[in-house]
Amino acid sequence: MNEQAEGLKRRGMHGGIGSYVTGFVLSIGMTVVSFILVASHLLTSLGTLVVIVTLAALQIIVQLFFFLHLGRESKPRWNIYILLFALMVVVIIIGGSLWIMHNLDRYMIMTPEQINTYMHNNEGL
């Protein structure tokens, strides 16, 4: 009984040694492949970019799953909902910033000198 109680007590978000080793080996593999691809210029720039971004996303998922043991707890899985919400905010912040700033950059016709003159003439605007 006591042993069972101990087992119950320590149950929760965790995995065994196998989970950590799997995550570790996969992460090392992906980091090494990304590094070699960039250092050796095996692929074109665009090809390398696509591969290393994919590998990074995969590695993050691997670490969330094997190191942080996401998705192994009992329902309701509030932490998954919080993660998804945070992910949405992250996408809006990063994607939105790039979108807005790219547009600003593209449609800003004035040169820096013109901007200075404009701001000087419209002081107090």
């Binding site: 009984m1 109680a5 119950l8 007590k9 320590r10 149950r11 929760g12 978000m13 965790h14 065994g16 040694i17 950590y20 995550g23 570790f24 992460s27 090392i28 980091t31 990304s34 590094f35 960039v38 250092a39 720039s45 390398t48 970019l49 290393i52 971004v53 590998l55 990074a56 590695q59 993050i60 670490q63 969330l64 190191f67 942080l68 707890e73 509030w78 932490n79 919080i82 993660l83 919400f85 945070a86 905010v89 992250v90 912040i93 990063i94 939105g96 910033s97 790039l98 700033m101």
Partner: protein, 201 residues
Amino acid sequence: MSKHVDEMAIEISHEEVVNAKVTLGFWTYLMTDCVLFASLFATYAVLHGNTFGGPSGKDIFDLPYIFVETMILLVSSFTTGLAMIAARKNNKDQVLTWLIVTGLLGAAFLIMELTEFSHLISDGHSWTVSAFLSSYFTLVGTHGLHILTGLLWLTVLITKLFRQDITSTLMRRLTLFSMFWHFLDVIWVGIFTVVYLMGAL
């Protein structure tokens, strides 16, 4: 006997509920930290091309050096996991060993990062030079600051472990620390790829 067992079951479930709540609360904090890093990543992504006549990432990043740094942090994330496994087996000596290894690796990572920073600054590439360097130092420096916080936390945990056994409170704190440390490695995967690998392309 049966009454005794019932009482024990209630006690266990109460502790489990507390653990689940604390873990979820800490997880929520980590996700807000994630949003902080997202803002810094967005800033870097927008500004990384604005070098203002100064160097670009390609000119100043030493990729093999950063690769070693990355490996060190990854191994330290793994040894945290080993410490957690030992803690669940109630093997205090092993927990201490793995935590100390984690701390040394974390310290090595931080020293390497600070060395890199001081080289950049002494070469005249400080954060005042361009928008690119400002956003770079802010993003990577914030991660480094988190690592420093983690190391202080780890020192407290190790000191406590030397003095006392693995109680349920200490077990909870170890769990939260391991989550924090794994999370920092996840963020570093992003920094390694977005800042260093993409910068070297």
